[in-house]
């Protein structure tokens, strides 16, 4: 709308027609159609951007359906708007809605006998050898991003962006700044980016006291606070290099520091009976010896109680990400590798490759393969042994355990010369955990972290408006 050259004439003409012929030209009704363009007008009003002679808008619509059979189901529609204001001035807007339902693991492994677990998020029951899951898992998240970039001199482009997301018990607000400088006849680009976000978590039942008794026979301790906060800061330094007329290569070094409340208030860690342990010790997170009647008949590895987890309040992650992109007479192959290391003791490797194979002038198929592996965090425990002293940090969250994951997928799509395109992809994501160390007694005969297979179906469409 801002780019139409006769817009300033049309508006008073329409107003005059309404005055002269009110029946034929009724007043405009408020439109129910959602648009991000009002934000563009606000940005113009405050002088952040100025109207261009011609703006090319690219609209992206995508929906992701995610399904873990018997567990979490998610639907995430996304709407993106990208405005090309000319002279390397771009505005990117994106809004996403994320709706989750189903059941999520709570950090407690399956046991040889049925389990009943009470926690702040409700009561969970699991049969023998069955993974306990929190069945009250339900959330809706809305996320919004905006990013503006423009040249600041002949070879340098600067950008500023904001991020915001809110859900039932979580809110995040962030700011990012980027600067790109081109060298070597634009064959080399160096980029520097910094970002920070301020997140608040406010569970319905308050923040539980970490490593205290989560549920069962004893009364639950009162929460410490109604909410907690964390600050996440990122720094990215990137080099993009043109290798030839058909090949691009990029490498990025990143540092991420998270500080504050990094614990998951809904996750638990189990205390399991261990024969030979001194009864009357600190008793893991219980803090006092349990009556002997409570332990009667328990075998080594049977659950005793469940406690809220606790993670360190600081995490520093370093990463190297490198990607290679090559064009072969219509086909495009890209491959990327990422290594991360954090001071929680986790090292991860990820390799991701896609090959967009052009079937005809407009149609393409794109197979996708991704492999990921991680080592365990130093405070990850499949469970605590009854009688052990209270650890400084402990979590039974299997996302912190040693794990491998493989994604295989296939995408098919149609692309027109005008830039319009649509594509649909089906992907299978498999996660595999080895038998964790630290299992006690009967736990060694149980599949403590069952493998997981998820399905992802994604549809995307791109429309280009030229004015």
């Amino acid at each position: 709308m801002i780019a139409r050259p006769h817009g300033s004439i049309r508006v008073p003409l329409r107003a005059a027609c309404r005055t002269l012929f009110p029946e034929r030209y009724p007043p405009p009704q408020p439109s129910a159609k959602f648009s991000l363009k009002p934000l563009v007008w606000v940005a113009m009003a405050v002088g952040l951007i100025r109207p261009a002679a011609a703006v090319e808008w690219q609209k992206d619509i995508a929906v992701l359906f995610y399904d873990e059979p018997g567990r979490v189901r998610a639907v995430e529609p996304v709407y993106g708007l990208k405005g090309d204001f000319g002279d390397d001035r771009w505005l990117n807007l994106k809004i996403a809605l994320d709706s989750l339902t189903g059941a999520s693991p709570n950090g407690i492994p399956p046991a040889a006998r049925p389990q009943t677990i009470s926690s702040a998020s409700g009561s969970t029951q699991a049969a023998a050898h069955e993974l306990p899951v929190d069945t009250n898992f339900k959330d809706t998240r809305i996320a919004f991003n905006a990013h503006w970039q423009q040249p600041v001199n002949e070879n340098t482009i600067a950008g500023v962006g904001i991020t915001f997301s809110t859900e039932y018990d979580y809110r995040s607000t962030g700011l990012n700044l980027t600067i790109d400088r081109a060298f070597n006849k634009n064959n080399t680009t160096l980029s520097l980016g910094v970002a920070t976000s301020y997140d608040t978590i406010f569970p319905h039942a308050g923040i539980p006291r970490p490593l205290t008794y989560g549920g069962g026979t004893f009364s639950q301790p009162s929460p410490t606070d109604p909410n907690e906060r964390k600050v996440v800061s990122d720094l990215l330094l990137s080099l993009s290099q043109v290798i030839s007329a058909n090949i691009l290569w990029a490498i990025t070094y990143g540092v991420t520091r998270a500080n504050g409340y990094l614990t998951d208030p809904y996750k638990l860690v189990g205390v399991f009976y261990s024969t030979g342990q001194p009864e009357g010790g600190a008793n893991a997170c219980i803090g006092q010896p349990l009556p002997s009647s409570f332990l009667q008949g328990k075998a080594a590895g049977d659950p005793v109680v469940y406690c809220y987890e606790k993670r360190p309040s600081d995490r520093l992650q370093q990463s190297i990400y490198t990607g290679w992109k090559q064009y072969f007479t219509g086909d495009v192959w890209d491959i990327a590798y990422r290594y991360t290391h954090n001071d929680w003791g986790m090292d991860t490797h990820m390799i991701d490759t896609r090959y967009a194979w052009r079937l005809s002038r407009n149609w393409f198929v794109r197979p996708h393969l991704r492999y990921y592996q991680q080592s365990a965090a130093h405070f990850y425990r499949i469970g605590l042994a009854y009688g052990d002293p209270i650890p400084h940090d402990a979590s039974g969250d299997n996302r912190l355990a040693k794990m491998t994951a493989v994604t295989t997928g296939l995408e098919i799509g149609q692309r027109e010369a005008s830039g319009r395109q649509w594509h649909i992809a089906l992907e299978i994501y498999r996660q595999n955990w080895p038998h964790p160390p630290g299992a006690i007694g009967v736990q060694n005969n149980i599949d403590l972290i069952p493998d997981l297979q998820s399905l992802m179906l994604r549809f995307g469409m791109t429309l280009v408006d030229k004015h």
């Binding site: 070597n184 890209d334 990422r338 990820m350 995307g460």
Partner: protein, 71 residues
Amino acid sequence: MKRAQHIIVITAILLLQACVNVQPWERAVLAKKEMSPQGDSIINGLDDHIYFSKEGSSGGRSFGGGGCGCN
């Protein structure tokens, strides 16, 4: 030893960029949307959100799309 490795990597990068000289009129392929170094930001955002909620590490390529209570 580690310092020597760093010097070799930096020297290799500098040599690489010095010997590349693709002219502006040779960039028709590189200007195509599918050759964008960042890829499709909408699709990347959806994928990153799934992996962020299922794995113990994330990021490294670009900034995330807002925080999430999912991890």
